[in-house]
Symmetry: C2
DNA sequence: CTGAAAGCGCTAACAG
DNA sequence: CTGTTAGCGCTTTCAG
């Protein structure tokens, strides 16, 4: 098998130096070393294509150049763009990622245990903003494991945290629709179990207030993106059955928005003519819909990059921080023209 | 920091046994051990919440219970359903995944090197079916690293391989459309750089042949899903400008299919009334489109699970195999009714 | 500036 | 059935 693995000792012998010298060149402690020796050792290393074992190195240094990534919903588009961004950023910083999918707190606790035995240098948690139990995280700092959370409540001050401003995002969407002439703007909210839902509803109210529109309970309905499509259709229909019906709706995410568009179109309505639709996420398919979807882009990639940087900096000794990112309204056709029915 | 890490020695001392005894209970070599001793050791382990270091263990056993995953296009919908499935399957089998994104052969070679230094027990490559250079993989078996490739040419007989039958998938879609009454079926193909494109075009021809329809060059156009949306619209328009125009089109993937639907609708055509549309992938948004998209589902998850099992079995000593999975046509509204214009 | 030697935490012979 | 011991491959004092 791997019996022919090259070791540092072989390099030392072939270079006719000691292992510590080889170790020194490996780790850049090469300042006051005879150029000739350096040259020779490097030569042997490259001809033998020698790569030091991270395992052995990890055992002695206690560092593995590996970061654990604990993801709440790995199959969600949103999370995946985060994983991609994180992987790229990690590798640029010289780290690898052990990716784990945790479905709940219990699972998460297990995953964390495994990650600890594997000696990761730090852990990044990326959550679905579900209110999760954090107790299994609180002893991480004491164990010398650095951690940063994305889109999740901070388990303690020793943790880094990156979030985005859901509230301002939705408020901005309301303003956008109002500026387009809409006066009856509905909001399809996500499940209450998510922190983001509260934030977004608050943003919706704030937006209405800011533009001087009244809040109407009727115009806020549940369209749980973790649930059935049928329920989204029903919620949309209920909204459109209202008198007066809304001329615009902000959906709990892009998937729901797609279904809102479809439901409206099936009723013979034009989007955005009769109904403007705004989504949340800016998923990959948003620009492909008919009409292309206006949506609140969540800065997931940027969050991932910031989280990784924060963690790497913390490994280097800096202290953790808290960062809040802005969302961005991506305006496409599903909201652009003025509503037809404004002057009803 | 982690100065308080519990070691096997401490467990041994507190249990008043030797380290090897502790090691034995850790590794289940507990058959002929006094029940009382076993009990005592276990007690100490759990009260001290001791977890053996995988690093140290890995150094001596040569195994790390870690599998490397090399993904070609991590941000693609297709790939991340694979990563999710792989992670779940891996953890069930007691493994963790180091996920790496390789953008090209060169990058891939680097990633493989890193993975080797990290001592992964095996590597899974999941490719975009791009014709990639495999030379950096061929020495893996010699180094004792097991590997299986998904959706990619087999680098050698020592590699496991899981693929799916693109050809049959597209042929089946043609038959489906023909059964619906369509006689003019177009195919929007992907880029030639992908192996899958060749397979799919072959499947298209085979399907036509099987149902007794002529192959027309005009009806096959490029709509590169890795390129611009505008180009997809143009390709669709060109198809619809043809006389006679096709009554059905199979798109190179679901994203392209979404744009085909939109382009047709913007020209005042009804889908599926005037034009039936079939996608490839069965991405998450396919059922949300208007109309819901008929599509060729690629068995990505299943492939992931098979690949993982193959790798784990290989680690356990079994030999590698080659598995070819079937695609599945998921029929939704974008193709269901009979074409209006059949009897033109 | 280089070499010898002591571990990192664990497993696996090999004795007892 | 349990204890001793020799490493796994590397880093890192500490002498020379």
């Amino acid at each position: 098998m791997s019996s022919d693995r090259v070791t540092i000792r072989q390099i030392a012998e072939m270079s006719e130096v000691s292992v510590s010298t080889v170790s020194n060149v490996l780790n850049g402690r090469t300042l006051r070393m005879s150029a000739e020796t350096l040259e020779r050792v490097r030569g042997v290393i490259s001809t033998l294509r020698y790569r030091p074992s991270s395992i052995a190195r990890g055992l002695v240094t206690g560092r593995t150049a590996t970061i654990g990534l604990v993801v709440a919903e790995i199959e969600t588009a949103l999370f995946f763009s985060a994983v991609g961004a994180l992987e790229t950023a990690a590798r640029d910083a010289g780290y690898n990622l052990i990716v784990c999918h945790a479905r709940g707190s219990r699972d998460e606790a297990e995953v964390v245990t495994v990650l600890r035995t594997k000696g990761v240098d730090g852990i990044i948690f990326i959550a679905n903003s579900e209110a999760v139990d954090n107790t299994h995280l609180t002893d991480l700092p004491a164990a010398g494991i650095l951690a940063v959370v994305i889109n999740r409540r901070r388990p303690g001050p020793e943790f880094g945290r990156v979030t985005w401003n859901d509230r301002a995002g939705v408020a901005g969407a309301v303003e956008h629709l109002h500026a387009l002439g809409h006066r009856r703007i509905a909001f399809l909210r996500g499940p209450r179990s998510r922190d983001s839902t509260r934030e977004r509803v608050a943003g919706y109210r704030r937006g209405l207030k800011k533009v001087g529109l009244p809040y109407q309970d009727d115009y806020v309905r549940l369209a749980d993106y973790t649930a059935e499509v049928l329920a989204w259709e029903r919620a949309t229909s209920e909204l459109l059955d209202l008198d007066p019906a809304p001329t615009a709706v902000i959906a709990s995410d892009d998937s729901v928005a797609a279904v809102v568009i479809r439901t409206a179109q099936r009723r013979g309505l034009s989007v955005p003519g009769d109904l403007a639709v705004v989504g949340i996420d800016d998923q990959m398919f948003a620009p492909l819909l008919n009409p292309p979807l206006t949506t609140i882009r969540l800065p997931v990639k940027e969050a991932a990059e910031r989280a990784l940087k924060m963690l790497v900096d913390a490994i280097a000794g800096q202290s953790m921080r808290e960062v809040r990112l802005d969302t961005e309204l991506v305006v496409r056709d599903s909201s652009s023209p003025e509503p037809r029915t404004t002057v009803s």
